[in-house]
């Protein structure tokens, strides 16, 4: 049995990271050349890790399923990246960023990791500037900042509404430099389908070449998973179409624990769902909440009149509008954290005050901001977002308020890792959104980019060496080892089995059904009965899928339906684990809202006595119930309080 050891270094919180670095073992330059590392994924975490490890002198193999590393979905992050620079002189410190992140995560994150994240945040901004990332500037030539949800200081750096793109292209540049140099070998259109474990250590992967369908074996001294989150288990989410859980799920089944699987972030400001054939949801950056005011009509008659077109939103006076976030949370107003904003929108819509075709939308209104600042300023700040909205919805947000509704956006849960970002399988590391991360039960805006780059540039390149320092004597592995043959055989059998079903229904048919179950019962609010139902319903759906899915084409060819089917097979198992985790956690915290546990005002009610832990699920084998292990969370630097944004 694996025992959870989070390996938190000694000393006071502000000394832990430097103490760790003072004492850790490193690999000397001559030995680095003898060591191979596989990095799966090329988003902010994967690209920055692969580039940094290459710079240090390791041999890196980097994999992505897209046609180029620059496509990874980090590219779509809009709003910004946090750092404790305190350039605006508004009182920010490393401690405050740390504190806000732990509080924002509703006290379910590991203190020492979050502190380190806040500590390295400033280095990230410096690094990006050196790469030529064009962050927004003031007329003085200095960097500009804006505010984001869950904070009372302006600490967010941004590049228009395309911050993720610019940061990813910075990391992609660094990666390209290493590819040119030969220290990183890039494998595009390759998908990891299994992990190879030799004598208890991660030693390689099985990857499928998506162009010709061939299975390939790749060996290394260590494997790093940087494949992002699993929001697509909901079918509709803001994730890219290809984002999937497969790499994460396969390592779970090989022995890595899965941390907090039910912690999902539902983002409050997305474009509402419009029809049955919708393939994905589009986010409207949270930064819009800086200037936009969220409201619904105060009276139900007005809801009806809006719906039948009798009146326009503009026709309602201030008194006839309910700015419910400003009403409920006067201190933070429209800038409350995401989980709070999402639930408040759901509450209004469930109560019958929602607007739009389906009644599942609220207004995000820029009228008063345009009056106060002028259209030019708003255009300069959000021009591309307004354009994006108009292209999709065919309405002009300068003239009529946007309609928004919450959508699945990010998963705080992921592979359990210790302080060194190592999983419960020695030699296997997980970084970025793929790990269970520093965000606890809710991630603050502009913190995902920070964590991805912190892990990839400034944490993993150090901590991985502590593992590798005793691997320098281990010669390169042969992919002829029986463990590789066995993993390849199992992968091949799974794909053949999928192809042989030749059922009646398409992959998307099953994926949509899974999405419905997840959204209904494991979504924004959950209860015992629903979660129990979800567990059975997902099991049944999974059986149906394995009996009835239809995949055209050949196995040894480019086959997009087979790719989707293999990913869905894993989502169909993951969904059940998410429901189980949600069921076990009998409290409400952050994005996990259990209807049975709420305050009189309808706010999330934590149960610190019984649930101040990370759920780390262990795979026990096919058909067996997974086992729950607990990592107890100790708070030394922070006093645990009821979250209050009022």
């Amino acid at each position: 049995m694996v025992k959870l050891n989070s390996k938190i270094p000694e000393g006071p919180i502000e000394k832990k990271w430097s103490n760790y670095k003072d004492q850790q073992s490193l690999v000397n330059p001559a030995n680095k050349r003898k060591i191979d590392i596989i990095v799966v994924g090329t988003g902010l975490a994967g690209a920055s890790a692969a580039a940094s490890l290459g710079e240090l002198g390791f041999n890196v193999k980097n994999f992505c399923f897209q046609d180029s590393p620059r496509r990874a979905h980090s590219i779509a992050a809009q709003g910004g990246i946090n750092a404790a620079k305190n350039y605006p002189n508004d009182g920010d410190t490393v401690y405050r960023l740390f504190y806000d992140t732990v509080k924002g995560g509703d006290y379910r994150a590991r203190e020492s990791n979050v502190y380190r994240l806040a500590e390295v945040s400033n280095n990230i901004i410096d690094q990006c500037i050196a790469q030529g990332v064009p962050f927004a500037r003031e007329y003085s030539g200095l960097l500009d900042n804006r505010s984001f949800g869950g904070a009372q200081v302006s600490r967010t750096f941004y590049a228009r509404g395309q911050t993720g793109q610019q940061l990813l292209l910075g990391a992609y540049g660094a990666l390209s430099k290493e590819i040119k140099k030969g220290s990183v070998k890039m494998y595009t259109r390759h998908e990891m389908l299994d992990l190879v474990v030799v004598e208890g250590r991660a030693r390689g992967i099985i990857a499928r070449n998506l162009i010709n369908g061939e299975l390939e074996r790749h060996a290394a001294h260590a494997v790093v998973i940087a494949t992002g989150g699993y929001g697509n288990v909901f079918f509709l989410s803001t994730n890219a179409m290809g984002s999937n859980v497969t790499a994460v799920w396969k390592v779970f089944k090989k022995g890595s624990f899965f941390g907090n699987p039910s912690f999902t972030q539902i983002h409050p400001t997305c474009i509402p769902v419009h029809g049955d054939f919708q393939s994905k949801l589009t986010l409207m950056s949270e930064s819009l909440r800086n200037d936009g005011r969220i409201w619904v009509p105060r009276k139900k008659e007005d809801v009806a009149r809006l719906k039948n077109g009798e009146i326009k939103p503009k026709d309602l006076s201030e008194e006839e509008r309910d700015y419910y976030l400003e009403r409920r949370y006067p201190a933070f107003g429209n800038l409350v954290p995401r989980d709070v904003a999402s639930r408040a929108a759901k509450e209004r819509c469930d109560a019958g005050y929602g607007v739009g075709e389906t009644g599942l939308a609220v207004y995000l209104d820029f009228e008063s901001a345009i009056e106060r600042l002028g259209k030019d300023v708003i255009e300069e700040r959000y021009g591309n977002l307004f354009q994006m909205y108009q292209k999709i919805v065919d309405e002009n947000p300068y003239e009529t308020p946007m309609m928004i509704y919450p959508a699945v956006h990010y998963t705080m849960g992921g592979i359990w890792v210790d302080y060194e970002l190592q999983t419960t399988i020695p030699g296997l590391f997980a970084i970025g959104e793929a790990n269970f991360s520093d965000h606890g039960a809710n991630r603050l805006g502009a913190s995902a980019l920070m964590q991805g780059l912190a892990d990839g540039y400034f944490v993993l390149p150090y901590t991985i060496q502590s593992y590798l320092s005793d691997q320098i004597g281990v010669p390169r592995f042969s992919t002829e080892l029986p463990e590789f043959a066995e993993a390849e055989k199992q992968t091949k059998e799974q794909l053949e089995k999928l192809m042989s079903i030749k059922g009646k229904n398409s992959v998307d048919h099953f994926h949509k059904l899974l999405g419905k179950i997840m959204w209904e019962y494991v979504g924004m609010s959950r209860n015992k009965k629903g979660l129990l139902h979800a567990i059975t319903a997902i099991k049944e759906l999974r059986e149906e899928f394995w009996k009835d899915v239809r995949i055209p084409g050949e196995i040894n060819d480019l086959n997009t339906e087979l790719e989707k089917a293999a990913r869905l097979a894993d989502f169909l198992e993951l969904g059940e684990l998410m429901a189980r985790d949600g069921l076990d956690r009998e409290e409400s915290c952050g994005g996990h809202f259990r209807e049975e546990y709420q305050t009189k005002e309808g706010e999330a009610l934590r149960n610190d006595k019984n649930f101040t832990f990370v759920s780390a699920w262990e795979y026990m084998g096919e058909g067996k119930e997974p086992k729950l292990n607990k990592e107890k969370l100790e708070y030394e630097a922070i006093e645990v309080k009821q979250r209050n944004y009022k």
Binding site: P69, G132, P134, G275, F458, R550, P552, L558
Partner: protein
């Protein structure tokens, strides 16, 4: 809405392709172009046929993975958007829509509408970055950059690497793509130390990959979903001439 579709089908890089006719019916005008293709593909799967293969991922106009040459336009007839942002309301009910892959010699077809754009990565690898290594860099505010230059750099940096500029150019030139990166870094003090080497290496890589020359037709700018300006090409030329002049001395 109903549409007749004329879609390029090609088994693989080696085989010859041809147009195949399809029909889709009852499409809502709010459907995106790629969702319309999803509907077609679902239909084909239920009929036991192979779906049409096309590249896509983010579906919000930022990853650069979608392509498609629609009715003679890269990313379709609407301006300043990618194919994934195109909606069916832009087409007339009953219309025939022709869908082809981006065509250019350096972008071989992989299957149907899916193409290989590795050549774009190769050009970036030739020098589309600053060589700053992780760590040991100055404070972010140590060097001031005028808002104007920073904004211009951001305009250029918005390129999503889709290759529509190449597909729209009769010479299959990648000049707009290369100039966007060269410009971004030439406009910033951090890019200056390597500016000369960068422009020479990237242009050499472009020639080597088989992209054609730029004859200033401006087709690239017109089709670029991110409205990358052709003035970047002028800046590249200036950079290139001063760099080659310097290297001859």
């Amino acid at each position: 809405m109903d549409f007749k579709l004329k879609i390029w089908k090609q088994k693989n890089a080696g085989s010859k392709g041809k147009f195949v006719n399809y029909e889709v019916k009852g499409i809502s005008s709010d459907t995106s172009f790629l969702e319309m293709l999803d509907i077609l593909n679902e239909d084909l799967i239920y009929k036991g046929e192979e779906p049409v293969v096309f590249d896509h991922d983010c579906r919000e106009g930022i990853c650069g993975m979608c392509s498609l040459y629609i009715n003679g336009y890269a990313h379709g007839p609407d301006a300043a958007i990618t194919t994934c942002q195109l909606h069916m309301r832009k087409f007339k009910d009953g219309a025939t829509i022709t869908i082809e892959p981006f065509r250019a010699r350096p972008f071989p077809v992989i299957k149907d509408l899916m193409i290989d754009r590795t050549a774009l990565d190769t050009m970036i690898q030739a020098g589309g970055y600053t060589s700053a290594k992780t760590g040991g860099v100055p404070d972010a505010n140590a060097i001031l950059i005028s808002k104007e230059n920073s904004d211009l750099a951001m305009d250029a940096a918005s390129c999503i690497g889709c290759g529509a500029c190449v597909a729209s150019c009769k010479n299959a030139s990648a000049m707009l793509f290369v100039s966007a990166k060269v410009s971004q870094l030439a406009l910033l003090p951090q890019g200056k130390p390597e500016a000369a080497e960068r422009v020479l290496n990237m242009v050499a890589a472009m020639d080597e990959a088989g992209f054609g020359n730029c004859t200033n037709t401006g087709a690239c700018e017109a089709e670029c979903p991110k409205e990358i300006k052709i003035t970047n090409i002028a800046r590249l030329n200036r950079e290139y001439f001063s760099a080659s002049f310097a290297s001859e001395l």
